[in-house]
Symmetry: C2
Subunit: 296 residues, 2 copies
């Protein structure tokens, strides 16, 4: 259904090698190479940098969203034609921030994934950067903080993800006996997911005038790691409120900064022209978010 | 304690900007720039690429492990001189694979971190790549699959991390009614953490002759995501045995491939010359691993 030259281009981009693409397509390597040369000649643009691993050129990258759409439509058509159960699963790629993937996203899409025999390809990035994945054709939809639709895309508000600043009760007693003060925060270790945690840094700068480097931080890029550190009383940090209901109610963790919740508004972006399956996934994302996130 | 020119170089590399480095050091931007030019003139090598963000050149990168060591020694000396409690926490950076960070690593080092007022900077990478972080000066120690010591470094065996292939009982009944067969695996969705999951791919190639692209996979780079998918019966996948003892015993998940456990031997690498604090951390890592991982 997809032109053989585009298929070859797609396979090389996916596998990042001519050799692996040839294996996947059951072709010789020179046949793959020949098809791509033909495509480049027709378009008058070089599409691939022949490095290891092979990379798309800027022109190749501009082509990717369209190839991704073609692939999806082809897979769905095959599904529609084949009898039930006989088709290969359709792959839907989505860009999500880590906290979304760790909390409400999979429960939201679970039913669609199961009923429609979809395989999900989740790409994790910062919620301020996921829209670049959509623009680059890496994903078919994304959860982002960007409120406006991109060219050729549509956007739906999902609601607000609330973050609380939490710690164990003994950590609070030891480090914040007089509550959160500039002096206490300059010495109390925070726990952050990555070296550049905007929320943590902004909180300390805006409310306490502390710049990065003026306070200690554990950097622990792992949810389990965060819980292990916080529960052991080694630090405080921001986590989604929906992720810690149990810990707050059993007293393992407490709100260390009452009145300082941070709210992040999230949006679902997708291509305006959606395949039927992708439209179902988009609906499930919007419905699932509405059930869990606060209204913006 | 550290030469002002090296301090300027270090601050620019850390903050990736001359402006932020100047703020951190309480200097003007031109003073920072001047110091780095002096250092470059003395060494006869350009150390920084003046891009946005600023990046070290290959020569700058070769210098980084030594600057990291200097910084650690300075911090520990300040600690030794200051009275107890008056010093800023010492930052120890370590390279770990995600499964290690999610399981035994933080319990192993928890006591040292608490008693010594250390802040941990964990950098997560594939267990086959963490040693490059050590060589590049990004970290002071790392958990790696590499068994031999690198130049200037020492290595200690940690034991074996065992992975089991698990799924929910209903997933097994639906997809593997006759056990794991090539035909069943070509259709049953796996769950992997990243697009290039060596263990999953190798398992299917070695035992069932299936190449990448010949079987469906959910890509879910999130532990919580993995559990949500597996528990909902949407896929099967490999997880560390020490992470799923509870799920195996309460029957939420079962071993889908008995006799097919995969064992990964892990090693702790660190610089031969260790600061006293880093030596304590290394001992805690080795002891903690011995208590949890199987002997190699």
């Amino acid at each position: 259904m997809i032109d053989a030259r585009y298929q070859a281009f797609d396979a090389v981009v996916q596998t990042r090698s001519f050799e692996a693409a040839a294996r996947r397509l059951n072709l010789t390597q020179s046949a793959v190479s020949q098809r791509i040369k033909l495509l480049e000649a027709e378009l008058g643009q070089v599409l691939l940098v022949r490095s290891k691993p092979v990379q798309p050129t800027p022109a190749g990258r501009r082509l990717l969203p369209y190839v991704a759409q073609l692939r999806l439509i082809e897979a769905e058509a095959a599904r529609a034609l084949a009898g039930d159960g006989a088709h290969a699963p359709v792959r839907l790629s989505v860009g999500v921030n880590a906290d979304t993937l760790a909390t409400w996203f999979l429960p939201a899409v679970r039913q669609v994934v199961k009923e429609e025999a979809v395989v999900l390809d989740c790409v994790v990035d910062d919620q301020d950067h996921t829209h670049a994945l959509l623009a680059g054709g890496d994903v078919l939809g994304c959860v982002s903080t960007r409120p406006d639709a991109m060219r050729g895309c549509a956007v739906r508000p999902l609601g607000v993800m609330r973050y609380l600043c939490v710690a164990s009760p003994d950590f609070c007693a030891r480090h914040f006996p007089r509550g959160l003060t500039r002096q206490a925060l300059a010495r109390a270790p925070g726990i952050v997911f990555g070296r550049h945690d905007d929320m943590h840094d902004l909180f300390l700068r805006q409310h306490f005038g502390l710049d990065a480097g003026q306070y200690p931080q554990h950097v622990v890029p792992s949810s389990e790691g965060f819980w292990a550190m916080a529960a052991a009383g080694l630090g405080y940090g921001f986590v989604p409120a929906i992720q810690i209901a149990a810990q707050l109610s059993d007293g393992t963790l407490v709100d260390a900064a009452p009145g300082h919740a941070e709210d992040i508004a999230l949006y679902w972006h997708h291509w305006q022209v959606q395949s039927p399956l992708m439209a179902k996934l988009s609906d499930a994302v919007a419905d699932g978010a509405r059930a869990v996130l606060a209204a913006a």
